[in-house]
Symmetry: D3
Subunit: 229 residues, 6 copies
């Protein structure tokens, strides 16, 4: 047996979009360095940067049937998150499914497996983060769950969570924390602008962040030559 | 001892080119989901799409001597397929060999190993699909076979077979089946155009492919909330 | 305890730049096929080609503190080489550190770990070769050495050595050999120009390099058909 | 900030032990093929088979400080589950920590990282499932959470869940489902005994499971010779 | 559509067994260093050494249905060779299937995927060489071919070929060459016995194989100290 | 050109043996957590523990010729360290070479590549740490250096250095530091005995190492329930 959950609590769309604009590194830091997917999740083209709300979809290895089921659950502003129930790099997703998701206003796909037709996906501007690129076809035989919590590429994704994805990878923000994380992300950005200017002007991080004393206390020594150590 | 086979039965050049235009995913499906090389075989630049006839070349690990031998066996419209006799990621191939292959009308290189000079290869437009990019030089000491059947990146390649390669990877079509596969690939493309239009217009795959009944029969349930399951 | 060595013997800047112009494959060959880093070290954008003098920096896993220390030791024309004391793919380096290095005239970063903010780094043109792209944040708790010899991605790097990095990867040239290697690299380039022209004109490598006799002596046989072997 | 949760709802100890006796494959099937950790989690010695209740522990990369904190939270019958906040293969755990856990009646360790002193651990009979064996030492600088839900090697582990580990790997059973899963596991075992006997006596699975008709309906054909297909 | 070929030309059983006794390294050398499967194919227990005739079986990813079909095609002295149609590490095979194969006199299993119940398989002495150990369960939905030529872990296997497997891995010998390869393997073994004795007595390979002159001709120099080079 | 260095400064044999007895983890800690080879270097059998002086040997990919040259340079108490000039997993070493090394009193082999005949090597008790087990044969065509400093599996090895290898992996100690490291290793062992006893008696590491105050200062909080955080 498998289920499709039809009502999920989506994070606020504007917050999701704003987190998308902040980018993965900033959002990841803003929420305390959690929620990052594995670094093997790479975008099929660059640059790219999106934020949206998660619809989750389990698939059996080598079987993309449930993606068709999940499409119906997607709304404008969503990001579809697909993960196989055991590791698989087959090409679950191609230009027809992308056409369908695009028609529903979906912002992109996160798939812990393979994707194909990437030339077309690049051309039509439908972004995908995947574990692999593979033309390997899949079957439609086994059912699995849609819109239940899943672990995708090492990160827990609950339906409705915010997903942010860009050139650096993919991060997940729990819906309940999205607004607070956005606040912190904005503060971080504001804070970084001043730092960037100082560093660009030649100020050293050692001084800007006042690190010298603590480094010395840890035992760091400066010597002129290696032999002097 | 090793041999070079000088006469091979190439698939029809027009068929090979037409399969190249159809692309890897379509061709792979059209021939029943066989013949795909491993997903680690990636192009050095994108987008790119070729179809041609295979000249095969074994090489010893860290030894590119036989590629020089294989060049002479190549004709316009061919694609050179190189695989080491044990796994190796050295840079067997660079701009001089590409210049030579280009001069002979060869369409590209498939190498289950490393390639170098990729900036130049990109500039002159000689496409390569490889396991790695590596500047590691190779020697010229050990002979091996040219134009015998080889297993390259998990796929069996018989000299003269059609090789199709694009952004999605590499697929091999046995020469004897090439025309029939092209037929099916064309039918598939025609068929997909109508589907694409329907999906772009908002029709769901669930309805287009009449999946709902079979999904229900398998036991798929729709619930409003996770707790309802 | 850990040390920072403040005086290192840098290779000649002009020689380093000239080696950079020659490129990784040529330099690697010119110095006898040594000094190449592992092929997993990939540039975040292409095409790119640099040569400079190494400042080395050890970092603890998940801890980028020492990069801030290393920045101060960098001078115009340097390339920063960072390697963790045990394998780690976290995102040690982003746009703020790049801004700082750029302000100091540093040509690029080689890091046997992860990098983030790659969209910005691409935009501002600060090249990085890394093992991974990852937004994973790091701490500042553990000290390590700056400007001591390190093994980075399989290659020994002594501070002051020449580092050459391009689309093909990264190679290290000991400072003491830099001038001689440059000489050989230039000779190689000159030599290759003539070969390239011959090959472009249709001359076979088999003839250009006079390989046929030696191949036959090794036992290579030409047969018309596979069955003839 | 980080927290240590001191009160967790452990699954029943007898149920956990009984699930341990049933083994990973049976338990994984009994709960609907979920909860399995990645196949790279391997035991340091074989044969071995345990079941217990999870105490969870996050650690920073290259930093085993929190394991010392987690030890205090462990009780007899527990299994300690450790996962780094970003991927790391350092040797977080050795014979001293094992001595401490053994003294507290802990049944074993599951660590999504490296372990060392495996000769001693084997000798004293303290089982560990890990991603790597590595002598690499770690620091004690960064705090993280103990007894919060974690994703370990792809599986969600909530403190108090049952962990079953044997030669085949590691599976997690949510505490609330443990009794029901045990029931099904026993039924499965009873059921398999009869099947095993039949198969040992030469009955074919094709007949025992009545597969022939369904295979034929799917299109399976029997031919005498490959040419006959 | 998929087929099961019921009549295959098995290599001579006595030859297969004798090749098994010779072991993988010797057989691999005797047939000219071909036919070796990838080094990731490891036995579940050691020591172990078998030789038999191949029955081949394709399986869909995550689907072990066809193994049940293949069992019926197996005869005493056979070795079952299973490979998924795209990469998969699920646990396709466990103690029930092993019981069935054992009852039919099958010598072992070669599977380019995962295996489970390895404690039991070790206990009952049914050897398996696999890519992974995994308890992950599989479905029975998709048909595929039995007893057609397959590529398994990089090696081409034609039904009836001899498969030799031991602690070093797995090698395939084409049925038509089996007798000749056995001849060479025996010659090699005889030849090695004398060498082993000489080497055990302190004779150097340099002298036994008369390598010194050729090494000098290649340019090998002996120096007392590194500085002397 | 390549060289063989015939006179190397070996660390004291008794010190090397004593370091071997201390084991990899202890020695690695005693010398400040440096010198460890990559964790993929695994022993072919367990338990095993050796310490000896390094003779180093470069080999070309797929070419074991130089191992024969290196054998002559080995003396009783040495450990042979072999690394390919580019990554390779072929089976460079088997029972004949082991017989030869054994006859010369060599304690074991460290090879950043593949090994074969492991059943025999296990039987005769010649320990090997390798990257892979592979029966793949190698050629004898290309020369390389013996007894020059090499990077092997990420660690710099200078001929004469102490190599310690056991179930946990391989660590290298520079000859000049060997005696001092042994001193520290012994102190560490003495120190650990008392700790082990305390921990076995139920004392917590938190108390034994007086960690509680520093943890609190870092911000660690204890809560009864997750919701309390």
């Amino acid at each position: 047996m498998a289920i499709v959950v039809t009502e999920i609590d989506r994070a606020d769309a504007a917050v999701a979009a704003a987190l998308g604009a902040a980018g993965v590194a900033t959002v990841h830091e803003a929420q305390g360095r959690t929620g990052l997917m594995a670094s093997y999740m790479r975008p099929i083209y660059r640059p790219v940067c999106i934020g949206g709300t998660a619809v989750t979809c389990e698939v059996a290895p080598g079987d993309n049937w449930m993606i068709h089921v999940a499409v119906e659950q997607c709304r404008p502003g969503d990001i579809l998150v697909v993960t196989p129930t055991s590791p698989c790099e087959d090409g679950y997703f191609g230009d027809l499914l992308a056409t369908s998701l695009k028609a529903r206003g979906v912002k992109g796909l996160i798939i812990n497996a393979g994707v194909r037709d990437i030339a077309t996906l690049t051309e039509i501007g439908f972004p995908v983060w995947s574990k692999a690129v593979s033309a390997q076809g899949t079957v439609k035989e086994t059912i699995a769950n849609v819109n239940v919590p899943v672990v995708c590429a090492g990160a827990l994704v609950t339906p409705g969570d915010v997903v942010v994805a860009d050139d650096d990878g993919v991060v997940v923000v729990p819906a309940a924390k999205a607004a607070a994380v956005l606040e912190k992300a904005k503060a971080r950005e504001a804070n970084e602008a001043a730092k960037r200017e100082a560093l660009a002007g030649g100020v050293l991080g050692l001084d800007l962040y006042k690190m010298r004393e603590r480094l010395a206390a840890k035992g760091l020594k400066y010597v002129e030559r290696l032999g002097d150590a």
